[in-house]
């Protein structure tokens, strides 16, 4: 800037000798912009597209697997696939409108890799029938990504909800569409057990619907290895510990555990602790616990953690010790069972792990090479306890596309597609038992529908903050077993804080 005072002409007068043309140009520019804006706005009709946020997918890259850990709870018996008669559904239910509506729908869920492929196969018939396209986005940080997009006013049309806990939070904010206007509720009441429907309700409204189910509490093993070593399938927890110790004394590590899962790391451990609490302390304690009325530092819950600690905090028990447990993705943790020679012999995981096992070990076949035995009894008065889970879908934006898609996803035809591909159970009663591709999934389906004490994963019923602290607590426990008391008291303070709203 020149410091000398200029009396004749100022710099601006010299540089901006404004001619009429320049003024006209400037004025036109100012006017043109709002016109352009108006034109582009009118060009966009009520679009069913939602911009997929590229920044919202930070953890999807490193691994091929994604969590399908969404669970829900039931206090009665959900039936899974008891239809022994026919697998044909009433045509009225399955028929989306025959007209081609085109357009697109955005879907957000946790599935990636193989699971994503299966979901896309499930959606394909709908795409063919309606001519519409599904834009799928998967993320393992579903809690945060979904919450962000909803509060930003940019929700996906349909989303897999992490669990009834967060579903209820969204429903309270009025963000979820009441599905009783979208789905044929009479048909739903016939095809779904009451408990499956009730679990997806909040404030008396049907704000979600389950499209996939899984059985938790299965312990996987290599059949040939067990046969050659003559290991017995344990029926009680004590037997299971005896078997584990037997393996330890032969110089090997019995268990393979993998807890890594990006922002949701620790959830497989939470599942196991849920199972232990259900069978050790019983369903009443379980219910009080997930409702926030039983403290984490109580004797029952502490005992459950210590029971789990028998496996998880003993480096002789778990393959690779805590370093392996904490850094291995859950989808890869079954692989040590099938290496040559095997590095581990037992793996706890829900029924969906079959698709991961077969993807990583293509030569391994169900029943012949790998099988599961159901979680052993801990306390004989709670025999018959079953922990199930399900994938809950909700609608944030109602459009023709999203309405017809969610209707399609509830039909037995759609759910059979994933069931046939393996790694999925269906909550729809009309999916026949012989739809299941192998004995393993048939057995899982039967266990889920025949259990006498059925619950859904406690961690997914808790408020998000509590669930998160639970997951992180399991990681801290594995990292530092001596800190159990301080971990539990921290969880107590989170419990006091997070159940308030």
């Amino acid at each position: 800037m020149a410091h000398e005072a200029r009396t004749s002409t100022t710099p601006s007068q010299e540089t901006f000798r404004v001619t009429r043309r320049a003024a006209l140009r400037g004025g036109l520019a100012l006017l043109a912009v709002p016109l352009l804006a108006a034109c582009s706005q009118s060009g966009s009709a009520s679009s069913p597209t939602a911009a997929p946020t590229t920044a919202s997918n930070p953890t999807a890259a490193p691994t091929t697997a994604a969590t399908a850990h969404a669970t829900a709870a039931a206090t009665a018996q959900p039936t899974v696939a008891p239809a022994t008669t026919t697998s044909a559904a009433p045509t009225a239910q399955s028929a989306s409108s025959a007209s081609k509506i085109g357009g697109s729908v955005s879907v957000l869920a946790t599935w990636g890799g193989n699971e994503q492929k299966n979901f896309e196969a499930m959606v394909k018939p709908w795409e063919d029938q309606t001519g519409a396209k599904m834009n799928y986005e998967g993320t393992r940080d579903l809690n945060a990504v979904l919450a962000t997009r909803v509060s930003a006013g940019n929700p996906p049309d349909l989303a897999g909800l992490p669990g009834p806990g967060q579903m209820a939070q969204f429903a309270k904010q009025g963000k979820l569409v009441d599905l009783s206007n979208v789905l044929d509720m009479n048909a739903m009441k016939q095809q779904y057990a009451t408990s499956w429907l009730e679990l997806a309700q909040a404030g008396g409204k049907q704000v979600g619907i389950f499209i996939k189910a899984a059985l938790k509490g299965s312990i996987w093993y290599d059949v040939k290895v067990f046969q050659s070593a003559k290991y017995q399938i344990p029926k009680t927890w004590d037997d299971l510990m005896k078997l584990s110790n037997q393996i330890v004394s032969s110089g090997k590590t019995p268990w393979s555990i993998g807890l890594e899962s990006g922002a949701s790391s620790g959830w497989p451990a939470a599942d196991l602790i849920d199972d232990i609490v259900l069978r050790q302390a019983g369903p009443d304690a379980y219910d009080k616990w997930y409702q926030g009325q039983l403290k984490w530092s109580s004797a029952e819950i502490k005992q459950a953690w210590q029971t789990w600690g028998q496996i998880a905090t003993n480096p002789k028990m778990a393959y690779g010790g805590k370093q392996y447990m904490l850094s291995t993705n859950f989808g890869k943790a079954a692989d040590p069972l099938f290496s040559n020679p095997p590095h581990a012999y037992l793996h706890y995981q829900a029924s969906f792990i079959t698709s991961f096992i077969e993807q990583d070990n293509p030569s391994v076949k169900p029943i012949v090479d790998y099988n599961f035995f159901f979680f052993p009894t801990i306390n004989s008065q709670y025999d018959g306890a079953v922990e199930g889970s399900g994938d809950l879908f909700g609608m944030f934006k109602q459009t023709d596309q999203s309405a017809t898609l969610i209707k399609w996803l509830t039909t037995p035809q759609a759910q059979s597609i994933w069931v046939k591909a393996g790694g999925a159970l269906s909550p729809n009663k009309l999916v026949a038992l012989d739809t299941y591709p192998d004995e393993i999934s048939k057995e899982s389906a039967q266990i889920l529908s025949n259990g006498s004490i059925v619950r859904f994963g406690a961690d997914d019923l808790m408020p998000t903050a509590m669930e998160n602290a639970f997951w992180k607590g399991t990681l801290a426990y594995v990292n530092n077993p001596g800190q159990l008391d301080s971990i539990l008291s921290h969880l107590d303070s989170v419990q006091a804080d997070s159940y308030k709203s």
């Binding site: 100022t10 953890t59 490193p62 945060a144 939070q169 790391s265 805590k322």
Partner: protein, 324 residues
């Protein structure tokens, strides 16, 4: 399609509107007497910038401070309850410890490494190549860097094939080495994360310090050599004091960036295993725990932590202005 329209609108429309505003403003200003013109003109030109800064920086800051005094959904006034909760939270103390570690180690290593590389490559034939190689990681986003290094730090137990570059390399070269889970073991996991940050930002320091070195006058260096100083003494007693202002600027910039570290921690460890940092904690509170009040409180803590650094910077700029 309308997204494309919006993008075009932004790219073409914003400069057009700004130019139009300035042209029309000047046209109108010229109608006024010169003294009034001189008084108003700076504000005419500054107005768009001040408006944007006000909307996108000043207002959010004030609003964040206000939100930090409210409850989780910003409905109920809770006063300093969020701050007292954070003060008693052991997790936050650990987080602050990690942030301090980042500030000290990250800043020291990037500036030192940047300086060493700048000095060693100064006036050499391969200078530009070396600087390009060191600067290249800056083109990678933090998230990309996190993903790359997550693969480098990957862990498999001893006996299984190593999938991580670091474990594989050390296993092959160091006798008696057993693979480690670098991202799990405290406290080395913090250093592993800082290493990623160093990898990304050293290029920035190198380039700026190299430019400062070029500003050294040759006569001073030659005079020192004539006086019998060896290379080491020249570096310590002549070079460093001359580029001290630049080092100060680079240091304060690095301190500010270290406080912003989020992507690396979030992608690689999600803040688990005692690697949590304030920015990650703020994210967790806001999006996972749905607690806006506490997230805002952490943001205010970060703001308070940065203010002294900014004050130093501003004072330095003012002093430089006076010197000029």
């Amino acid at each position: 399609m309308d997204r494309l329209g919006l993008a075009l609108l932004a790219i073409v429309g914003v400069p057009l509107v700004t130019c139009g505003y300035l042209v029309v403003g000047e046209r109108l200003l010229n109608e006024l007497p010169p003294r009034v013109q001189r008084a108003i003109r700076p504000w005419l030109w500054l107005a768009p910038a001040i408006a944007l800064l006000g909307v996108f920086l000043v207002y959010p800051t004030i609003e964040t401070i206000r939100v930090s005094l409210y409850g989780p959904s910003s409905q109920h006034f809770v006063g300093l309850a969020n701050y007292s909760y954070l003060a008693s939270d052991a997790g936050l103390r650990l987080t602050i410890r990690n942030n301090l570690l980042w500030i000290v180690v990250f800043t020291a290593v990037t500036v030192a490494l940047g300086l060493i590389i700048a000095v060693l490559t100064d006036r050499r034939r391969y200078e530009n190549f070396a600087k390009a190689v060191v600067f290249l990681p800056m083109a990678v986003s933090f998230v990309g860097a996190g993903v790359i290094w997550k693969f480098v730090y990957d862990y498999q137990p001893a006996g299984a094939g190593q999938t991580g570059l670091l474990n594989a390399g050390l296993l092959a070269t160091v006798p008696g080495f057993s693979p480690r889970a670098w991202l799990i073991l405290d406290p080395i996991n913090n250093l592993a994360l800082i290493a990623v940050g160093v990898w990304v930002w050293t290029g920035f320091c190198t380039v700026i310090l190299s430019a400062a070195l070029k500003g050294l006058s040759r006569e001073v260096l030659e005079a020192a050599k004539v006086d019998g100083a060896n290379a080491w003494q020249i570096f310590l007693l002549v070079t460093l004091p001359c580029i001290a202002p630049t080092i100060a600027v680079v240091t304060t910039t690095m301190v500010i960036f270290s406080l912003k570290a989020f992507d690396i921690v979030y992608v690689m460890t999600s803040g688990n295993f005692n690697t949590d940092v304030l920015a990650n904690r703020m994210y967790t509170e806001m999006f996972t725990n749905d607690n806006f009040g506490r997230a805002a409180a952490i943001a205010v803590i970060l703001l308070v932590a940065i203010v002294p650094v900014m004050a130093i910077n501003v004072r330095r700029f003012r002093r430089q202005e006076e010197q000029n």
